[in-house]
Symmetry: C2
Subunit: 384 residues, 2 copies
């Protein structure tokens, strides 16, 4: 059931409340108000690209404490179609999730499906990765699709440049992204939906800053930083993310798209980012890779064949409460679907617990000390 729509101006002013700040870091504790409820930030959004978090029921998502999920406008528009989703009551009812939903626009697919698209100032023409049919996305049509889906947070169409982009390529993509953001802002009229702008600019810090300032002048309810974690060096990701966040207003939510590893999320929260999404917990779960309180663990290794311990002895998720590493390894070795489900469930719980821990540490005014201790334990080199 959709909750009553909050009466807020369309720039989303007041939709984000900051309730605590780390005294000696950029980390912030906030509340993001949406038409389907409140999201505690910093928040991690499980990825439901095709309208489902792979292998996880909505009831399980609730149980593990997820408050918002991310889906994808490009994918849902191809299949089953945004009009069909609207006809069936919107994406919330369609996928059985009554909490907040954010949809990415399709900008990432401009990058990841590069051989299948042609880009111009007008928009992007895709050849569908499913059946080769042509689909033309414009900044305006992407807003329309997200209104049809009925999501709580819509993203503007953007152009995500590849990691090795030249200065000229990066400028061209950033210029287009900004122009599209202005067009998106102009046509977005849905007071029940928050529209976030996206900063591009590849790995060029001065370009990122310039883009961020121009985007902020358009006055969006929230700001995202896109085009990182697309293959560039990890130190560069950190530098660019840190430089860019400084140009984004403190009173609006800041979303770093498509990252990351647990230890990176702690660093990004320290910089002042509030929202994240990443396929790692579910994708790694399907591949037998577990995130644990003392580092990463490949459950397929022979050393776990007789291990009666839970995947993570410090974890309270259903998987860790119920099964041994030996059983999880058996499921992975036998390619049993339940293995992918249980490992994905654990990994998502691990990410949600990490965000809960971060929020508690910020509220308690001890984020810096907490993160130093936690980062030392998350070192993936520690044998487990």
């Amino acid at each position: 059931m959709p909750k009553p729509m909050p009466q807020r101006p369309n720039n989303g002013l007041g939709s984000f409340e900051m309730i605590a700040c780390a005294p000696d870091a950029g980390a912030r504790r906030g509340l993001l108000h949406t038409a389907h409820g409140v999201v505690n930030t910093p928040a991690f959004m499980p990825v439901a690209t095709q309208g489902t978090v792979k292998g996880i029921t909505p009831a399980q998502l609730r149980e593990l404490g997820a408050e918002i999920v991310l889906s994808n406008t490009y994918h849902l528009s191809l299949r089953p179609g945004a009009a069909l989703v609207r006809e069936l009551g919107g994406l919330h009812r369609f996928m059985g999730w009554d909490g907040p939903i954010l949809t990415d626009s399709g900008g990432y697919q401009v990058f990841s499906l590069a051989p299948l698209r042609k880009i111009s100032d007008q928009g992007v023409e895709f050849r569908s990765h499913l059946d080769g049919k042509s689909m033309f996305l414009t900044p305006e049509s992407v807003i329309g699709l997200q209104v049809e889906l009925g999501v709580d947070i819509a993203m503007v169409l953007d152009e995500c440049a590849p990691a090795g982009a030249t200065r000229a390529q990066a400028e061209e993509a950033a210029r287009r992204t900004l122009q599209w953001a202005a067009r998106s802002r102009a046509v977005h009229m849905n007071p029940a939906q928050l529209l976030f702008g996206i900063v591009q600019g590849a790995t060029y810090k001065d370009l990122r800053l310039q883009q961020a300032r121009a985007l902020v002048a358009l006055d969006f309810p929230g700001y995202a930083v896109g085009g990182l974690s697309v293959g560039e060096d990890r130190d560069i990701t950190m530098e660019v993310a840190e430089a860019t966040v400084a140009a984004l207003p403190a009173e609006r939510p800041r979303y770093l798209m498509g990252v990351g590893l647990p230890e990176d999320l702690i660093r990004f929260v320290a910089m002042g980012y509030d929202m994240f999404d990443c396929v790692l917990p579910t994708r790694n779960g399907r591949n037998g890779m577990l995130f644990t309180s003392c580092g990463r663990l490949n459950i397929r290794l022979a050393r776990y064949a007789r291990d009666p311990a839970p995947a993570d002895p410090e974890c309270a998720c259903y998987t860790c409460r119920t099964f041994s590493r030996a059983y999880l390894r058996h499921l992975a070795a036998a390619n049993e679907m339940l293995g992918a489900q249980l490992l994905s469930l654990h990994n998502l719980h691990f990410y949600q617990q990490l965000m809960r821990d971060m929020r508690a540490a910020i509220s308690a005014g001890r984020f810096t000390a907490w993160s130093a201790e936690r980062l030392s334990r998350l070192n993936p080199e520690v044998p487990t």
Copy 2:
């Protein structure tokens, strides 16, 4: 947690209580007492071949009302190994299921893996379907493996002849099965485990009867009828099942192995069978085929693309309470794992509800009327 072991003689006398009978049919309502709790019969056992019901957590199994699951000695012995399962506390703890477990012996694999095995009076030599390694199963070793697994109900090793077996082949397999049953009975010493004998004899009714009588003379706690539904004509299955059950003692549980469709289960219960297992609910679920109160439904059909109704409007399962046919079709079309999970969950719930309905009808003394009404609705030709 294993429940305290009931103090019962090793022939399982008293483990089966009959609490109601249909006045005008063979259907019986019973309670089967095991070391891990009571099973209400007639009962359907979800299939957990490799120690997992595909795509379903033990918590979900409980929720849908399953009281006993079936696993497979041959498969578990190959991977992860029966000794390893024992070392980890037995199959119940290993798979996180604290209710009763029955294991099939590997006799069905004698049939289904025919090119990979050599059979003699001594036992069966398999070439593992996983790595080609050789494994020799004897009636005695199969008992030992099931004791290691710690299951509540063990099955004797048997030889399942193919559908088109000649009289001579059927006699040879039946003779060997009986000899093996005697050897199994002689070595089985575990008072916490019920050992069931198996009647073979292919499609020859007189052979089945002769085998059943000889088997009953060995005094097993329960009797199974194997080697049906292996490709023979469905009318033949019905005739042979009905002829054979007459030779099995009323005071012991009767298990018809590897069947069947919902409408067939009703007919087998009417004959006096008490226990069933079948891969259909989960396998069909993975393939998009749903059992519903008004027949079978292929969720992949285009006609369900915009259908807002639940898969089965009369069903109370999580899938039907939460999702539309349109969403389930989307998941199936997108090959999303959650589709297989939600459809399997529904199908298993459908089977459990069917068994609950049968038990209630027997207890109320109206099984025959109930089954006539129900069979007319289950007609798969009814368009849905």
